[in-house]
């Protein structure tokens, strides 16, 4: 297990470096100079040249990348152009809210997905299966930002049960674990949970079906095991793949929260990314994407290790 874990960690290093390279290059594919956002429109040539030297934009690209990477490793992602505060501080404050939203959504989506998937796979080609599959396919086809709007229309505008936007009565800085604040989490979490619910349902349904058609299940039944015991074996065999899919989905929820956070004005990393894009705040854009991508890579690593821990066959391949 130790050997496998360390090998996986070593494999991650080139991935992390190339992710950093992509994030670095993002700023350099922007049309014109990366300074355009900082410079006033009527800036003189000297001022532009001065700033270019100050930011290091006059150096060759590989050197710039090296310097940027060196500072990034030390936790310095530069300062936000809009607020002047360090990018890392801004991102870390926002990421907490995104993680909270993603975990709440994961609890809803994964529970329902596992339940629907197991039932649909076990009662294949019955009406239960048809209902669960339809729910799943609707889940993966829904434009989730639109679902968010529809839920706001129903539960905030028409019924007036739940708040439409924001993260609590005290604004983004004052979160508390009581109903007054949790009410604000309900609609965004349900909206976020729909896609993972659909994908987990489809995966688990296919897995359950495949496992049930295998010879060892026949052997278990022939041995005289009760159906509940057989089901336990099915779950154990489906677990590694289901876990991998759920890990990936959690990563997508963390990284892809921008649309839902925009709809609900949820003060997470997605909303931060949105404001970074429209204020042309390139250091903030770059930093947010880097942090989110690193979260995703780390999560994939953890899933791989967890998968190997529960399924010894993976270690050998």
């Amino acid at each position: 297990m130790f050997a496998y874990t360390s090998r996986r960690i070593v494999y991650v290093i080139p991935i992390v470096l190339s992710v950093a390279l992509v994030c670095f290059l993002l700023v350099h594919i922007t049309p014109g100079d990366p300074l355009v956002a900082v410079l006033p429109a009527d800036a003189s040539q000297e001022l532009a040249a001065q700033l270019r030297t100050a930011y290091g934009f006059d150096r060759p690209l590989p050197v710039q990348f090296g310097l940027w990477l060196w500072r990034a490793i030390h936790g310095d992602l530069g300062n936000s152009i809009a607020t002047g505060r360090p990018v890392l501080t801004e991102v870390m404050r926002a990421v907490g809210n995104t993680v909270m939203l993603a975990i709440a959504a994961a609890m809803i989506g994964f529970t329902l997905g596992l339940l629907f998937g197991l039932i649909a796979g076990y009662f294949r080609d019955t009406w239960v299966d048809k209902v669960a599959t339809s729910v799943a396919i609707a889940g993966v086809s829904l434009p989730h930002y639109w679902l968010g709007m529809v839920l706001v229309i129903i539960f905030s505008v028409q019924l007036n049960w739940l708040p439409a936007v924001g993260a609590g009565p005290g604004g983004s800085g004052a979160w508390a674990w009581d109903w007054e604040h949790l009410r604000y989490l309900v609609l965004p979490a349900i909206t976020t949970s729909v896609i993972p619910m659909g994908i987990v349902t489809r995966t688990v349904r296919a897995l359950t079906g495949d496992i049930l058609s295998q010879d060892f299940v026949e052997a278990l039944r022939a041995k005289g095991l009760r159906e509940t015991e057989v089901f336990r074996h099915v779950i154990k065999n489906a677990a590694p793949t289901a876990l991998a899919v759920m890990g990936l989905q959690l990563g997508y929820m963390l990284g892809g929260s921008i649309l839902i956070e925009t709809v609900f004005s949820w003060p997470g990393s997605g909303l931060l990314l949105n404001s970074a894009i429209f204020q042309r705040d390139l250091p903030l854009l770059q930093g947010t994407i880097l942090v989110l991508a690193l979260f995703f890579v780390l999560l994939n690593l953890l899933v791989d290790i967890a998968q190997a821990a529960i399924d010894p066959r993976i270690k050998r391949s």
Partner: protein
């Protein structure tokens, strides 16, 4: 009993007489869900294409006194938007841009990804490693984040949003194409072609492309649904086209302010995105099971 032998009698000569694709086509035509989806999609595509000849109201012509009319108002079957423009006309005209920006990235990615995957899978060795490791890098980003990152860095615009979505889908299609090609590469008929003196380009184009295209095509059809949602999502964020252009994602964004006045009109553009997306998903599922003849 008699019904069973009937179908058995019909099925045997049918599968023998028809080729693979004819059988697949016949199986799709028999699938009610797939056919319903195909008909809905054809209707949406045709109305978008023929919009100027449908005697619709001008989708750009607003009116301050007729803003946010309800669904079913005489003269405005689907109501009016926040600037008093006819929703029916805007939804139909909106399909033109929305379908183009949703589908073009998948077509581009299909062409690029299939070529890359075919070359990587057939040539193998160092070229395979180079292509597939580059693809891995893009897998280290959640696709929504990657699309928004590229689109956000390039700036708003239709071309940029198509480019960013193409970049998101190329790695996924390349992976599928590579794995299918690797499966086909060592089959006897490829060996036979090589023995008869065919060059690598000819083998890839003549002998392998036809065998790998099917699975890749099905995978790509499934991506159209994601692409429609993401493309409209980019417009929804303001990274796609600009007002007053009718486009479903952008319409959804500008109508967001109207949800307290006329909520169901505001939700209409999203329903269009949903309809197209679910139809492509169901059609792709239908195609997948139709092509799986062994079952």
């Amino acid at each position: 009993m008699s019904a069973m032998s009937d179908t058995a009698l019909q099925a045997v000569p049918a599968t023998k007489a028809r080729g693979y694709w004819a059988t697949v086509g016949r199986r799709i035509r028999r699938d009610k869900v797939s056919m319903a989806c195909a008909i809905i999609l054809v209707l949406i595509f045709a109305s978008a294409l023929l919009a100027p000849w449908l005697h619709l109201a001008d989708p750009y012509q607003g009116s301050m006194i007729r803003r946010l009319r309800h669904i079913g108002t005489p003269g405005y079957p689907l109501g009016t938007d926040e600037l008093g423009r006819d929703m029916l006309a805007r939804l139909i005209y909106g399909g033109r841009l929305s379908l183009v920006i949703g589908i073009l990235p998948v077509i581009f990615a299909f062409v690029i990804g299939t070529s890359l995957g075919l070359v990587a899978g057939y040539v193998g060795g160092k070229l395979n490693t180079a292509i597939m490791r580059t693809v891995d890098v893009f897998y280290a980003f959640p696709s929504v984040l990657l699309a928004i990152a590229i689109s956000g860095a390039l700036g708003a615009g239709i071309t940029n949003s198509i480019v960013s979505l193409t970049i998101v889908f190329v790695p996924q299609i390349t992976r599928v194409a590579e794995s299918v090609t690797t499966g086909v590469r060592n089959m006897d008929f490829v060996e036979a072609a090589r023995a008869s003196g065919a060059g690598p380009f000819t083998i890839m184009r003549v002998h392998m492309l036809g065998n790998v295209l099917g699975p890749i095509f099905v995978y790509a059809t499934g991506l159209i649904s994601v692409s429609m949602i993401l493309a409209a999502g980019l417009s929804f964020l303001g990274l796609g086209t600009k007002p007053p252009e009718p486009e479903w994602g952008l319409m959804l964004n500008t109508l967001r302010t109207a949800i307290y006045v006329n909520p169901w009109v505001a939700a209409l553009p999203g329903a269009m995105i949903f309809a197209v997306s679910i139809c492509f998903n169901l059609l792709s599922d239908g195609m997948r099971s139709a092509m799986d003849i062994r079952n």
